[in-house]
């Protein structure tokens, strides 16, 4: 027993060291990812800082029916009638600075399906900031941007079907940005739809029938968009807050377990208040918690990197059968522990190659398989593959607890198991990003992932499909 005790001291010290290391690693990794993003934002913001104020000048009459040529004629030739400045009284907005701050934050952080693109062009026809990262550094402005830079007032353009060169789908808004009367650049807002931004459309329509200051009209549109973006911005902030609250909860739980186990051994084992079997059980718990913690840290880092587009993806021919074989072998012990069987028969199965990144495909199969095991108390997990000639679908079916229709809508979202009430989520089952990571991974490989069917008490079927590399 004395020897056992002597041998345990270094083990416990090692575990305590591991606790500290993991805590520092996890904290550092998350902070680093956040910091990197913030630095990127600040770097971009420093360029936007060149835009202390947005002054829009001039007055013009616009008509929905007006063509580009008409706008060119009406917009600038009617001349300017003073300066229009966005202020609190006009728009009941807290401050112009705040509005701009939110607006430019939008440019950097949001991807909105209804807004195809928001781009800020410099006077030298270079993109200063764009909601589409791929546009950064490009300099191929449409003729409309050039029209503004050559002195035209702001205008709206509805897509002319005959004009195929336009890259927006419905409406584009072009706004000259002036600082103290001097033209600085052009704001280009391309919308996929004229339905979703109903308030904006309402004012666009009003502008058709009344004579209004073009500067005021444009600012009003920008202001409405700002408010729309501020709403989005606040939602993002809430999402981030939820993410970090839950992420830190998930990491603190195994850390508490390690800290509690080791301190209990150190306090009570020397006094023989706990038995050797209990002590070994606590050591096992500390070990298992450290493994769990590493998995959680990896999942969160993965999530952040994928969301930021910082994870490189290879496109290679991947043998899906070989991957499933390997995952089944790995998770078998996990299923055995719960008395579950895994049904997967690759005997005489032809080789199926899909296009993707081998490690990422494996990660998706692993996540779906372990997810099925976590949520199945008895029965089996069945894996099958289906070839439709173009894509290969992998289906993971379980006989688990199932998901009710309301919560099915939340699948593949971050912390999806939260449901409507974040405080009553089943945190002990998973950290809540497994399916979300699957979605990010599969979409990056041009595939699809989803729930085929699910019934409470009977089980669920999840699938992912990837394009076939060949068809044998």
């Amino acid at each position: 027993m004395k020897l056992m005790h002597k041998a345990l001291v270094p083990t416990i010290l090692l575990l305590l060291g591991l606790v500290v290391f993991l805590a520092l690693f996890a904290r550092h990794a998350v902070e680093e990812a956040v910091l990197l993003k913030e630095l990127e934002r600040m770097e971009k913001t420093s360029q936007n800082a060149l835009l202390p104020e947005v002054h829009l000048e001039g007055e013009a009459t616009h008509s929905e029916e007006s063509t580009h040529e008409e706008e060119e004629e009406s917009g600038h030739e009617e001349g300017f009638e003073g300066e229009f400045i966005l202020n609190q009284e006009d728009f009941e907005h807290p401050s112009r600075e705040e509005s701009q701050r939110h607006f430019f934050r939008y440019l950097q952080e949001f991807k909105d399906p209804e807004i195809e693109k928001v781009t800020l062009w410099s006077k030298k026809l270079k993109i200063i900031s764009s909601s589409n990262d791929n546009d950064e550094g490009l300099n191929n402005p449409t003729p409309h941007v050039q029209k503004i830079l050559s002195g035209a007032d702001s205008f709206f353009v509805k897509k002319d079907l005959k004009e195929t060169s336009l890259h927006y789908k419905n409406i584009a808004i072009f706004v000259p940005l002036k600082i103290e009367g001097k033209l600085y650049g052009v704001l280009e807002i391309c919308l996929n739809t004229d339905e979703i931004l109903a308030p904006v459309k309402k004012y666009l329509d009003n502008i058709v029938f009344v004579t209004i200051s073009a500067g005021a009209a444009t600012l009003f549109v920008v202001y409405l968009l700002n408010n729309y973006f501020i709403g989005k911005s606040m939602q993002l902030a809430r999402n981030k807050e939820d993410f970090f609250a839950i992420a830190s909860h998930e990491m603190r739980t195994p850390l508490t377990s390690i800290k509690g186990s080791t301190s209990t051994i150190l306090t009570y084992y020397p006094e023989k208040k706990i038995t050797e079997a209990e002590m070994l059980d606590f050591v096992k718990q500390a070990h298992d918690s450290s493994v769990r913690l590493i998995g959680i840290a990896n999942d969160y880092i993965d999530t952040l990197r994928l969301e930021q587009g910082k994870s490189p993806f290879k496109t290679e021919s991947v043998d899906i059968v070989e991957i499933i074989n390997s995952v089944v072998a790995e998770v078998k012990s996990m299923a055995d522990e719960k008395g579950l069987s895994i049904k997967w028969d690759s005997t005489n199965m032809p080789k199926y190659a899909v296009l993707g990144d081998k490690d990422r495909v494996r990660q998706v199969v692993y996540n779906l398989a372990t997810n099925a095991i976590h949520y199945t108390r008895q029965g089996s997990i069945t894996i099958t593959i289906e070839n439709d000639g173009k894509n290969l679908k992998t289906v993971v079916a379980d006989t688990g607890i199932g998901i009710d229709p309301e919560n099915q809508k939340l699948l593949f979202q971050k912390f999806q198991q939260a449901g409507k009430n974040v405080l009553s989520r089943e945190a002990s089952l998973s950290v809540g990003v497994g399916l979300y990571i699957c979605k990010l991974l599969v979409e990056n490989m041009k595939g699809k992932v989803g729930l085929l069917k699910s019934e409470v008490g009977k089980g669920s079927e999840f699938y992912f499909s990837l394009p076939l590399a060949d068809n044998k």
């Binding site: 807050e241 830190s248 603190r252 739980t253 508490t256 301190s263 009570y268 918690s289 945190a427 002990s428």
Partner: protein, 124 residues
């Protein structure tokens, strides 16, 4: 007579570790593994415990919802309640305080022995 701690905790590791230390320190222990189980146990309680130690994030019912239930029950409403959670935010801590909870403790900041000391100070 030993004091009784009622602990609602969905993490089996933490339940085992903290539960062991509580019993070693002379407390009787009653446990529930999720919010629903905790509420059911409360409805059947013949005798009120000395303290409730409630996790906040639990399947079925949250610790906050359990707190509301406790305060609605004549025989339980005067029992001290400690929220014991790893889900920490200033808002949640303030909410717990405003609701009338006796303590809001972060699990990872407290050794099992620390929790014992705080419980003893609360119910002595």
């Amino acid at each position: 007579m030993a004091k009784t701690i009622f602990m609602a905790e969905d993490d089996s590791f933490l339940l085992k570790i903290f539960g062991k230390v509580f019993t070693l320190e002379g407390f009787d222990l009653k446990v529930a593994k999720n919010g629903t189980e905790a509420k059911e146990a409360m409805t059947q309680m013949q005798e009120a415990p000395s303290v409730f130690l409630l996790d906040v994030m639990m399947p079925g019912m949250s610790g906050f919802e359990l707190f509301e239930y406790i305060k609605s029950q004549e025989k339980l409403k005067n029992v001290p309640v400690i929220f014991f959670t790893n889900l920490y935010s200033d808002d949640d801590a303030k909410k717990a305080k405003d609701m009338g909870a006796n303590m809001y403790l972060l699990k990872s900041d407290n050794y099992p022995q620390d929790v014992v000391a705080k419980i003893k100070s609360l119910i002595s």
